[in-house]
Protein backbone atom coordinates (compact mmCIF):
# COMPACT_ATOMS: atom_id res chain seq x y z
CA UNK A 1 0.00 0.00 0.00
CA UNK A 2 2.90 2.36 0.72
CA UNK A 3 4.80 4.04 -2.10
CA UNK A 4 8.50 3.16 -1.99
CA UNK A 5 9.63 6.57 -3.10
CA UNK A 6 8.68 9.61 -5.20
CA UNK A 7 9.25 7.77 -8.51
CA UNK A 8 6.99 4.91 -7.40
CA UNK A 9 4.16 7.42 -6.85
CA UNK A 10 4.79 9.09 -10.23
CA UNK A 11 4.66 5.65 -11.89
CA UNK A 12 1.26 5.00 -10.26
CA UNK A 13 -0.02 8.40 -11.38
CA UNK A 14 1.09 7.58 -14.92
CA UNK A 15 -0.58 4.15 -14.87
CA UNK A 16 -3.81 5.76 -13.62
CA UNK A 17 -3.77 8.45 -16.33
CA UNK A 18 -2.94 11.13 -13.75
CA UNK A 19 0.48 12.23 -15.06
CA UNK A 20 0.95 14.41 -18.13
CA UNK A 21 4.49 14.54 -19.51
CA UNK A 22 5.29 17.75 -21.36
CA UNK A 23 7.94 16.87 -23.96
CA UNK A 24 7.75 20.19 -25.81
CA UNK A 25 10.47 22.65 -24.90
CA UNK A 26 9.45 25.11 -22.17
CA UNK A 27 11.27 28.09 -20.72
CA UNK A 28 11.94 27.95 -16.96
CA UNK A 29 10.04 31.27 -16.69
CA UNK A 30 7.28 31.93 -17.17
CA UNK A 31 6.26 28.62 -18.76
CA UNK A 32 6.45 26.10 -15.91
CA UNK A 33 4.56 28.21 -13.35
CA UNK A 34 2.09 29.39 -16.00
CA UNK A 35 1.35 25.85 -17.20
CA UNK A 36 0.90 24.65 -13.62
CA UNK A 37 -1.42 27.51 -12.68
CA UNK A 38 -3.38 26.89 -15.90
CA UNK A 39 -3.69 23.20 -15.00
CA UNK A 40 -5.22 24.12 -11.63
CA UNK A 41 -7.83 26.20 -13.48
CA UNK A 42 -9.01 23.15 -15.42
CA UNK A 43 -10.79 21.66 -12.43
CA UNK A 44 -10.38 19.41 -9.42
CA UNK A 45 -9.37 16.22 -11.25
CA UNK A 46 -6.25 17.36 -13.07
CA UNK A 47 -3.09 15.28 -13.57
CA UNK A 48 0.40 15.92 -12.25
CA UNK A 49 2.86 17.30 -14.83
CA UNK A 50 6.41 16.26 -15.67
CA UNK A 51 8.50 18.73 -17.68
CA UNK A 52 11.51 17.02 -19.26
CA UNK A 53 12.57 19.47 -21.98
CA UNK A 54 13.51 22.74 -20.30
CA UNK A 55 15.35 25.40 -22.26
CA UNK A 56 19.03 25.66 -21.30
CA UNK A 57 19.11 22.35 -19.41
CA UNK A 58 20.38 19.03 -20.76
CA UNK A 59 18.63 16.51 -18.52
CA UNK A 60 16.54 18.40 -15.93
CA UNK A 61 13.15 17.00 -14.95
CA UNK A 62 10.59 19.05 -13.02
CA UNK A 63 7.43 17.54 -11.50
CA UNK A 64 4.51 19.86 -10.69
CA UNK A 65 0.94 19.53 -9.40
CA UNK A 66 1.80 16.09 -8.02
CA UNK A 67 -0.99 16.17 -5.41
CA UNK A 68 -2.95 18.93 -7.09
CA UNK A 69 -6.33 17.18 -7.50
CA UNK A 70 -8.74 14.90 -5.65
CA UNK A 71 -7.90 11.83 -7.76
CA UNK A 72 -4.21 12.33 -6.92
CA UNK A 73 -5.10 12.80 -3.24
CA UNK A 74 -7.07 9.53 -3.35
CA UNK A 75 -4.11 7.76 -4.98
CA UNK A 76 -1.86 9.16 -2.23
CA UNK A 77 -3.88 6.94 0.11
CA UNK A 78 -3.97 4.08 -2.48
CA UNK A 79 -7.74 4.53 -2.86
CA UNK A 80 -9.56 4.31 -6.24
CA UNK A 81 -9.00 7.62 -7.95
CA UNK A 82 -12.72 8.47 -8.16
CA UNK A 83 -13.28 8.08 -4.39
CA UNK A 84 -15.72 10.84 -3.33
CA UNK A 85 -14.24 13.61 -1.23
CA UNK A 86 -16.34 12.86 1.84
CA UNK A 87 -15.22 9.21 1.69
CA UNK A 88 -11.58 10.35 1.41
CA UNK A 89 -12.21 12.48 4.52
CA UNK A 90 -13.58 9.54 6.54
CA UNK A 91 -10.81 7.20 5.38
CA UNK A 92 -8.17 9.80 6.33
CA UNK A 93 -9.86 10.20 9.73
CA UNK A 94 -9.75 6.41 10.21
CA UNK A 95 -6.02 6.24 9.42
CA UNK A 96 -5.32 9.32 11.56
CA UNK A 97 -6.66 7.22 14.45
CA UNK A 98 -3.98 4.56 13.74
CA UNK A 99 -1.28 7.04 14.86
CA UNK A 100 1.43 6.33 15.92
CA UNK A 101 2.83 3.74 13.48
CA UNK A 102 6.46 2.86 14.40
CA UNK A 103 9.11 3.74 11.79
CA UNK A 104 11.45 1.43 9.89
CA UNK A 105 15.13 2.42 9.99
CA UNK A 106 17.45 1.86 7.04
CA UNK A 107 21.24 2.15 6.73
CA UNK A 108 21.47 3.43 3.15
CA UNK A 109 19.14 5.22 0.75
CA UNK A 110 18.96 5.83 -3.00
CA UNK A 111 19.85 9.50 -2.48
CA UNK A 112 23.33 8.44 -1.31
CA UNK A 113 24.23 7.79 -4.99
CA UNK A 114 25.72 11.25 -5.50
CA UNK A 115 27.27 13.28 -2.68
CA UNK A 116 28.60 16.85 -2.85
CA UNK A 117 30.48 18.54 -0.02
CA UNK A 118 32.72 21.01 -1.91
CA UNK A 119 31.77 23.99 -4.08
CA UNK A 120 28.08 23.43 -3.49
CA UNK A 121 25.95 25.50 -5.88
CA UNK A 122 22.23 25.00 -5.43
CA UNK A 123 21.54 27.04 -8.58
CA UNK A 124 23.47 24.41 -10.57
CA UNK A 125 22.24 21.34 -8.70
CA UNK A 126 18.50 22.14 -8.82
CA UNK A 127 16.56 23.46 -11.86
CA UNK A 128 15.21 26.41 -9.88
CA UNK A 129 12.77 28.93 -11.34
CA UNK A 130 10.49 31.80 -10.39
CA UNK A 131 6.85 31.02 -9.53
CA UNK A 132 5.13 34.43 -9.39
CA UNK A 133 6.11 37.76 -10.92
CA UNK A 134 6.54 39.61 -7.62
CA UNK A 135 8.62 36.85 -5.99
CA UNK A 136 12.00 38.05 -4.77
CA UNK A 137 13.77 35.04 -6.21
CA UNK A 138 13.67 31.28 -6.71
CA UNK A 139 12.03 29.31 -3.92
CA UNK A 140 11.83 25.76 -2.59
CA UNK A 141 8.33 25.32 -1.15
CA UNK A 142 7.41 21.62 -1.00
CA UNK A 143 10.44 20.17 0.77
CA UNK A 144 10.39 18.49 4.18
CA UNK A 145 12.51 20.47 6.67
CA UNK A 146 13.65 18.36 9.62
CA UNK A 147 14.97 19.59 12.98
CA UNK A 148 15.15 18.40 16.59
CA UNK A 149 14.28 19.77 20.02
CA UNK A 150 17.68 20.69 21.52
CA UNK A 151 16.44 20.42 25.12
CA UNK A 152 14.97 16.95 24.55
CA UNK A 153 17.00 15.53 21.64
CA UNK A 154 16.14 11.88 22.38
CA UNK A 155 12.39 12.54 22.00
CA UNK A 156 11.56 11.14 18.56
CA UNK A 157 8.16 12.86 18.45
CA UNK A 158 9.66 16.29 19.11
CA UNK A 159 11.75 15.93 15.97
CA UNK A 160 9.80 18.06 13.51
CA UNK A 161 9.14 17.53 9.81
CA UNK A 162 7.55 20.62 8.33
CA UNK A 163 7.11 22.38 5.01
CA UNK A 164 8.35 25.96 4.98
CA UNK A 165 8.96 28.39 2.18
CA UNK A 166 12.69 28.78 1.47
CA UNK A 167 14.29 31.35 -0.80
CA UNK A 168 17.54 30.29 -2.47
CA UNK A 169 19.79 33.19 -1.45
CA UNK A 170 23.21 32.05 -2.54
CA UNK A 171 25.10 29.03 -3.77
CA UNK A 172 24.85 27.30 -0.38
CA UNK A 173 22.39 29.57 1.39
CA UNK A 174 18.63 29.52 1.94
CA UNK A 175 16.26 31.94 3.64
CA UNK A 176 13.46 30.28 5.63
CA UNK A 177 10.14 31.51 7.02
CA UNK A 178 9.55 29.88 10.42
CA UNK A 179 6.56 31.85 11.72
CA UNK A 180 6.52 31.90 15.53
CA UNK A 181 3.62 29.38 15.73
CA UNK A 182 5.63 26.75 13.81
CA UNK A 183 7.50 23.94 15.58
CA UNK A 184 10.83 24.77 13.92
CA UNK A 185 10.61 28.24 15.48
CA UNK A 186 10.69 26.58 18.92
CA UNK A 187 13.88 24.71 17.93
CA UNK A 188 15.43 27.87 16.53
CA UNK A 189 14.67 29.79 19.72
CA UNK A 190 16.37 27.05 21.80
CA UNK A 191 19.43 27.24 19.54
CA UNK A 192 19.62 31.02 19.63
CA UNK A 193 19.29 31.09 23.41
CA UNK A 194 22.34 28.77 23.53
CA UNK A 195 24.16 30.70 20.81
CA UNK A 196 24.43 27.55 18.67
CA UNK A 197 23.44 26.87 15.07
CA UNK A 198 20.49 24.48 14.63
CA UNK A 199 21.19 21.39 12.46
CA UNK A 200 18.57 20.93 9.74
CA UNK A 201 17.99 18.55 6.86
CA UNK A 202 15.91 19.42 3.79
CA UNK A 203 14.47 16.54 1.76
CA UNK A 204 13.07 17.26 -1.72
CA UNK A 205 10.98 14.96 -3.91
CA UNK A 206 9.32 12.65 -1.37
CA UNK A 207 6.55 10.10 -1.69
CA UNK A 208 3.30 11.79 -0.70
CA UNK A 209 2.59 10.30 2.76
CA UNK A 210 5.33 12.29 4.50
CA UNK A 211 4.40 15.46 2.59
CA UNK A 212 0.82 15.01 3.79
CA UNK A 213 1.90 14.33 7.39
CA UNK A 214 4.30 17.29 7.34
CA UNK A 215 1.40 19.52 6.27
CA UNK A 216 -0.98 18.18 8.94
CA UNK A 217 -1.40 20.30 12.07
CA UNK A 218 -0.05 17.80 14.66
CA UNK A 219 0.73 18.43 18.31
CA UNK A 220 4.30 19.46 19.14
CA UNK A 221 5.38 16.03 20.42
CA UNK A 222 3.68 13.99 17.68
CA UNK A 223 5.99 12.52 15.03
CA UNK A 224 5.23 13.27 11.39
CA UNK A 225 7.06 10.02 10.48
CA UNK A 226 4.74 8.02 12.73
CA UNK A 227 1.78 9.85 11.17
CA UNK A 228 3.07 9.15 7.63
CA UNK A 229 3.17 5.46 8.60
CA UNK A 230 -0.43 5.66 9.84
CA UNK A 231 -1.53 7.38 6.60
CA UNK A 232 0.17 4.82 4.34
CA UNK A 233 -0.70 1.86 6.57
CA UNK A 234 2.92 0.64 6.80
CA UNK A 235 5.97 1.69 8.82
CA UNK A 236 7.60 4.77 7.30
CA UNK A 237 11.22 4.29 6.19
CA UNK A 238 13.90 6.69 7.41
CA UNK A 239 17.68 6.92 7.31
CA UNK A 240 20.11 8.94 9.46
CA UNK A 241 21.82 12.12 8.34
CA UNK A 242 25.63 12.20 8.34
CA UNK A 243 26.25 15.56 10.01
CA UNK A 244 23.57 15.32 12.69
CA UNK A 245 21.20 12.93 14.45
CA UNK A 246 18.30 13.87 12.17
CA UNK A 247 16.17 11.28 10.37
CA UNK A 248 15.53 11.62 6.62
CA UNK A 249 12.76 10.19 4.39
CA UNK A 250 14.38 7.18 2.69
CA UNK A 251 12.80 7.80 -0.72
CA UNK A 252 13.88 11.44 -1.20
CA UNK A 253 15.29 12.55 -4.56
CA UNK A 254 17.56 15.28 -3.16
CA UNK A 255 18.76 15.92 0.41
CA UNK A 256 20.45 19.06 1.74
CA UNK A 257 22.19 18.97 5.13
CA UNK A 258 22.97 22.23 6.86
CA UNK A 259 22.41 24.51 9.80
CA UNK A 260 20.13 27.38 10.70
CA UNK A 261 22.48 30.21 11.63
CA UNK A 262 21.91 31.51 15.16
CA UNK A 263 21.35 35.24 15.44
CA UNK A 264 21.09 35.87 11.69
CA UNK A 265 18.15 37.61 9.99
CA UNK A 266 18.31 38.68 6.36
CA UNK A 267 15.96 40.39 3.90
CA UNK A 268 13.55 37.86 2.39
CA UNK A 269 10.71 37.83 -0.13
CA UNK A 270 8.22 38.81 -1.21
CA UNK A 271 6.62 35.48 -2.04
CA UNK A 272 3.12 34.79 -3.40
CA UNK A 273 1.33 32.93 -0.59
CA UNK A 274 -1.63 30.57 -0.21
CA UNK A 275 -3.86 33.50 0.78
CA UNK A 276 -3.68 34.76 -2.81
CA UNK A 277 -1.49 37.68 -1.69
CA UNK A 278 2.23 38.36 -1.49
CA UNK A 279 3.98 38.50 1.84
CA UNK A 280 7.55 39.46 2.56
CA UNK A 281 9.99 42.28 2.72
CA UNK A 282 10.88 41.05 6.23
CA UNK A 283 14.14 39.78 7.72
CA UNK A 284 14.17 36.04 8.23
CA UNK A 285 16.60 33.31 9.35
CA UNK A 286 19.20 31.79 7.05
CA UNK A 287 20.30 28.17 6.47
CA UNK A 288 23.86 27.35 5.37
CA UNK A 289 24.10 24.09 3.37
CA UNK A 290 27.15 21.89 4.03
CA UNK A 291 26.32 18.66 2.24
CA UNK A 292 24.10 17.69 -0.71
CA UNK A 293 23.14 14.20 -1.84
CA UNK A 294 20.90 13.20 -4.69
CA UNK A 295 19.84 10.29 -6.84
CA UNK A 296 21.31 10.01 -10.33
CA UNK A 297 19.31 12.36 -12.59
CA UNK A 298 17.10 13.58 -9.76
CA UNK A 299 13.56 14.74 -10.42
CA UNK A 300 12.95 18.20 -8.97
CA UNK A 301 9.50 18.35 -7.40
CA UNK A 302 8.15 21.85 -7.03
CA UNK A 303 4.83 23.38 -6.03
CA UNK A 304 3.08 26.31 -7.65
CA UNK A 305 1.40 28.40 -4.96
CA UNK A 306 -0.73 31.46 -5.59
CA UNK A 307 -4.33 32.49 -6.02
CA UNK A 308 -6.38 29.50 -4.73
CA UNK A 309 -7.07 26.85 -5.75
CA UNK A 310 -3.63 25.41 -6.37
CA UNK A 311 -1.90 22.19 -5.34
CA UNK A 312 -1.47 23.58 -1.81
CA UNK A 313 -5.21 23.58 -1.25
CA UNK A 314 -5.52 19.90 -2.20
CA UNK A 315 -2.48 19.10 -0.08
CA UNK A 316 -3.76 20.77 3.12
CA UNK A 317 -7.52 20.34 2.68
CA UNK A 318 -8.38 16.96 4.21
CA UNK A 319 -5.47 16.88 6.64
CA UNK A 320 -6.56 20.22 8.11
CA UNK A 321 -10.22 19.16 8.31
CA UNK A 322 -9.56 15.89 10.16
CA UNK A 323 -7.80 17.31 13.29
CA UNK A 324 -10.58 19.91 13.61
CA UNK A 325 -13.14 17.11 13.28
CA UNK A 326 -11.42 15.15 16.05
CA UNK A 327 -11.25 18.15 18.37
CA UNK A 328 -14.96 18.89 17.84
CA UNK A 329 -15.76 15.21 18.37
CA UNK A 330 -14.09 15.40 21.78
CA UNK A 331 -16.66 18.00 22.81
CA UNK A 332 -19.68 16.62 20.94
CA UNK A 333 -18.98 12.93 20.16
CA UNK A 334 -22.53 11.98 19.15
CA UNK A 335 -23.40 15.02 17.08
CA UNK A 336 -20.51 16.03 14.81
CA UNK A 337 -20.87 14.44 11.38
CA UNK A 338 -18.06 15.89 9.22
CA UNK A 339 -15.87 18.99 8.88
CA UNK A 340 -14.72 20.75 5.73
CA UNK A 341 -11.98 23.24 6.60
CA UNK A 342 -10.48 23.35 3.11
CA UNK A 343 -10.89 27.01 2.26
CA UNK A 344 -7.63 28.95 2.58
CA UNK A 345 -6.37 26.47 5.18
CA UNK A 346 -9.62 26.72 7.14
CA UNK A 347 -10.19 30.49 7.24
CA UNK A 348 -13.64 29.33 6.18
CA UNK A 349 -14.88 26.07 7.68
CA UNK A 350 -18.14 24.15 7.25
CA UNK A 351 -19.36 21.77 9.96
CA UNK A 352 -22.21 19.33 9.60
CA UNK A 353 -23.80 18.29 12.88
CA UNK A 354 -26.90 16.90 14.55
CA UNK A 355 -28.63 19.27 17.00
CA UNK A 356 -29.76 18.33 20.46
CA UNK A 357 -31.87 21.48 21.00
CA UNK A 358 -32.28 25.04 19.78
CA UNK A 359 -29.03 27.02 19.85
CA UNK A 360 -26.85 23.90 19.72
CA UNK A 361 -25.42 24.54 16.24
CA UNK A 362 -24.18 27.97 17.30
CA UNK A 363 -22.36 26.36 20.24
CA UNK A 364 -20.67 23.95 17.79
CA UNK A 365 -19.58 26.92 15.69
CA UNK A 366 -18.20 28.72 18.75
CA UNK A 367 -16.31 25.59 19.81
CA UNK A 368 -14.59 25.49 16.41
CA UNK A 369 -13.25 29.00 17.07
CA UNK A 370 -11.49 27.82 20.25
CA UNK A 371 -9.81 24.68 18.85
CA UNK A 372 -6.01 24.94 18.35
CA UNK A 373 -6.44 25.41 14.58
CA UNK A 374 -9.43 27.70 15.08
CA UNK A 375 -7.32 30.17 17.06
CA UNK A 376 -5.45 31.04 13.88
CA UNK A 377 -8.18 30.31 11.32
CA UNK A 378 -11.99 29.74 11.24
CA UNK A 379 -12.85 33.36 10.48
CA UNK A 380 -16.17 32.17 9.09
CA UNK A 381 -17.80 28.98 10.36
CA UNK A 382 -20.90 27.70 8.56
CA UNK A 383 -22.88 25.05 10.45
CA UNK A 384 -25.21 22.75 8.49
CA UNK A 385 -27.45 19.77 9.30
CA UNK A 386 -26.05 16.25 9.49
CA UNK A 387 -27.62 15.30 6.15
CA UNK A 388 -25.89 18.15 4.30
CA UNK A 389 -22.51 17.07 2.88
CA UNK A 390 -20.12 19.88 3.88
CA UNK A 391 -17.85 18.95 0.96
CA UNK A 392 -20.70 19.54 -1.50
CA UNK A 393 -20.85 23.33 -1.85
CA UNK A 394 -24.15 23.37 -3.79
CA UNK A 395 -25.70 21.56 -0.81
CA UNK A 396 -24.10 24.05 1.60
CA UNK A 397 -25.43 26.94 -0.48
CA UNK A 398 -28.88 25.31 -0.40
CA UNK A 399 -28.69 25.18 3.40
CA UNK A 400 -27.63 28.84 3.56
CA UNK A 401 -30.39 29.83 1.11
CA UNK A 402 -33.21 28.07 2.91
CA UNK A 403 -32.22 27.50 6.56
CA UNK A 404 -30.44 30.68 7.57
CA UNK A 405 -32.31 33.69 8.93
CA UNK A 406 -29.90 36.64 9.08
CA UNK A 407 -31.64 38.12 12.11
CA UNK A 408 -31.20 34.96 14.20
CA UNK A 409 -28.42 32.97 12.59
CA UNK A 410 -25.50 35.37 11.96
CA UNK A 411 -23.29 35.76 15.05
CA UNK A 412 -20.26 38.06 15.01
CA UNK A 413 -17.62 37.88 17.76
CA UNK A 414 -15.27 40.87 17.77
CA UNK A 415 -11.45 41.00 17.83
CA UNK A 416 -10.33 37.38 17.90
CA UNK A 417 -6.95 35.96 16.89
CA UNK A 418 -6.11 34.95 13.32
CA UNK A 419 -2.90 34.21 11.43
CA UNK A 420 -1.02 37.36 10.52
CA UNK A 421 -0.97 36.33 6.83
CA UNK A 422 -4.75 37.03 6.71
CA UNK A 423 -4.67 40.18 4.56
CA UNK A 424 -7.99 41.36 6.01
CA UNK A 425 -6.90 41.26 9.64
CA UNK A 426 -6.48 44.64 11.33
CA UNK A 427 -4.24 45.02 13.18
CA UNK A 428 -2.42 42.13 11.58
CA UNK A 429 -3.45 39.00 13.50
CA UNK A 430 -6.78 40.33 14.84
CA UNK A 431 -10.19 39.96 13.20
CA UNK A 432 -13.89 39.66 13.96
CA UNK A 433 -15.19 36.15 13.36
CA UNK A 434 -18.61 34.95 12.30
CA UNK A 435 -20.74 31.86 12.79
CA UNK A 436 -23.54 31.29 10.28
CA UNK A 437 -26.10 28.80 11.57
CA UNK A 438 -27.62 27.16 8.49
CA UNK A 439 -29.20 24.27 10.36
CA UNK A 440 -32.92 23.59 10.65
CA UNK A 441 -34.31 25.25 13.79
CA UNK A 442 -35.25 22.72 16.49
CA UNK A 443 -37.29 23.20 19.68
CA UNK A 444 -37.42 25.37 21.63
CA UNK A 445 -36.38 27.42 18.61
CA UNK A 446 -39.51 27.04 16.49
CA UNK A 447 -39.52 29.37 13.53
CA UNK A 448 -39.86 29.04 9.77
CA UNK A 449 -41.73 26.39 7.78
CA UNK A 450 -39.61 23.26 7.72
CA UNK A 451 -42.12 20.50 8.38
CA UNK A 452 -42.25 19.11 4.84
CA UNK A 453 -38.69 18.43 3.63
CA UNK A 454 -38.43 16.72 0.22
CA UNK A 455 -37.40 13.08 0.22
CA UNK A 456 -35.67 11.23 -2.63
CA UNK A 457 -37.01 8.33 -4.67
CA UNK A 458 -36.41 4.95 -3.02
CA UNK A 459 -32.91 3.42 -3.51
CA UNK A 460 -31.10 6.55 -4.73
CA UNK A 461 -28.12 5.70 -2.53
CA UNK A 462 -27.87 2.16 -3.89
CA UNK A 463 -27.95 3.56 -7.41
CA UNK A 464 -25.29 6.10 -6.57
CA UNK A 465 -22.93 3.33 -5.41
CA UNK A 466 -23.76 1.17 -8.41
CA UNK A 467 -23.18 3.98 -10.92
CA UNK A 468 -19.87 4.85 -9.29
CA UNK A 469 -18.69 1.27 -9.75
CA UNK A 470 -19.88 1.23 -13.36
CA UNK A 471 -17.96 4.44 -14.04
CA UNK A 472 -14.76 3.31 -12.29
Amino acid sequence: MAYKDFRDFLATLEKEGQLLTINDEVKPEPDIAAATKAMSKLGAETPAMLFDNIYGYTDAKVAMNVMGSWPNHALMMSLPKNTPLKDQFFEFARRYDQFPMPVQREETAPFHEVEITENINLFDILPLFRLNQGDGGFYIDKACVISRDLDDPEHFGKQNVGIYRMQVKGKDRLGIQPVPQHDIAIHLRQAEERGENLPVVIALGNEPAITTAAATPLLYDQSEYEMAGAIQGEPYRIVKAKDSDLDIPWGAEVVLEGELLAGVREFEGPFGEFTGHYSGGRSMPVIKINRVYHRQNPIFEHLYIGMPWTETDYMIGINTSVPLYHQLKEAFPNEIEAVNAMYTHGLVAIISTKRRYGGFAKAVGMRALTTPHGLGYCKLVIVVDEDVDPFNLPQVMWALSTKMHPKHDAVIIPDLSVLTLDPGSSPSGITHKMVLDATTPVAPETRGHYSQPLDSPVNVEKWEQRLRELLR
Binding site: K27, G56, Y57, G263, R282, M284
Partner: protein
Protein backbone atom coordinates in the same frame (compact mmCIF):
# COMPACT_ATOMS: atom_id res chain seq x y z
CA UNK B 1 28.60 43.25 -12.32
CA UNK B 2 24.98 43.74 -13.31
CA UNK B 3 22.29 46.22 -12.29
CA UNK B 4 19.61 44.81 -10.00
CA UNK B 5 16.17 45.41 -11.57
CA UNK B 6 14.59 45.67 -8.13
CA UNK B 7 16.89 47.88 -5.99
CA UNK B 8 19.14 49.15 -8.83
CA UNK B 9 22.37 48.35 -7.01
CA UNK B 10 25.19 47.74 -9.49
CA UNK B 11 26.58 44.79 -7.54
CA UNK B 12 24.63 41.80 -8.87
CA UNK B 13 26.75 38.81 -9.89
CA UNK B 14 26.36 35.67 -11.97
CA UNK B 15 25.46 32.70 -9.76
CA UNK B 16 24.72 30.13 -12.47
CA UNK B 17 25.07 29.56 -16.21
CA UNK B 18 22.88 27.26 -18.28
CA UNK B 19 24.21 23.72 -18.81
CA UNK B 20 23.57 24.36 -22.54
CA UNK B 21 26.18 27.00 -23.25
CA UNK B 22 24.85 30.49 -23.88
CA UNK B 23 21.16 29.85 -23.18
CA UNK B 24 20.93 31.99 -20.03
CA UNK B 25 22.62 33.21 -16.86
CA UNK B 26 21.19 33.65 -13.35
CA UNK B 27 22.12 36.77 -11.38
CA UNK B 28 21.80 37.62 -7.71
CA UNK B 29 21.90 41.02 -6.03
CA UNK B 30 23.82 40.98 -2.73
CA UNK B 31 21.96 44.09 -1.50
CA UNK B 32 18.28 43.04 -1.74
CA UNK B 33 18.95 39.34 -2.61
CA UNK B 34 16.82 39.63 -5.75
CA UNK B 35 17.49 36.75 -8.15
CA UNK B 36 16.62 36.61 -11.83
CA UNK B 37 17.38 34.84 -15.09
CA UNK B 38 18.66 36.74 -18.09
CA UNK B 39 15.87 35.47 -20.39
CA UNK B 40 12.93 36.42 -18.14
CA UNK B 41 10.43 39.01 -19.45
CA UNK B 42 11.56 42.66 -19.36
CA UNK B 43 9.13 43.36 -16.51
CA UNK B 44 11.53 41.27 -14.43
CA UNK B 45 14.95 42.03 -15.94
CA UNK B 46 14.75 45.74 -16.81
CA UNK B 47 15.02 48.22 -13.86
CA UNK B 48 12.87 50.72 -15.82
CA UNK B 49 10.06 48.22 -16.34
CA UNK B 50 10.20 46.33 -13.04
CA UNK B 51 6.82 46.59 -11.23
CA UNK B 52 7.08 49.74 -9.12
CA UNK B 53 5.02 48.21 -6.32
CA UNK B 54 7.76 45.61 -5.82
CA UNK B 55 10.78 47.93 -6.03
CA UNK B 56 13.04 47.89 -2.96
CA UNK B 57 14.83 50.92 -1.55
CA UNK B 58 18.15 49.70 -0.09
CA UNK B 59 17.74 52.25 2.74
CA UNK B 60 14.63 50.40 3.95
CA UNK B 61 16.29 46.97 4.19
CA UNK B 62 17.87 47.41 7.65
CA UNK B 63 14.46 48.46 9.01
CA UNK B 64 12.65 45.32 7.86
CA UNK B 65 10.85 43.51 10.68
CA UNK B 66 12.63 40.43 12.09
CA UNK B 67 10.49 37.27 11.83
CA UNK B 68 10.81 35.60 14.25
CA UNK B 69 12.11 38.28 16.63
CA UNK B 70 15.78 38.02 17.62
CA UNK B 71 16.63 37.20 21.26
CA UNK B 72 17.91 40.27 23.12
CA UNK B 73 21.56 39.12 23.18
CA UNK B 74 21.81 39.42 19.38
CA UNK B 75 20.49 42.98 19.26
CA UNK B 76 23.31 45.51 19.15
Amino acid sequence: MHTCPRCESKKAEVVSKSPVEGAWEVYMCPVCIFTWRSIEPETITNPEKYNRAFKVNPADIPNAENVPALPAKYIK
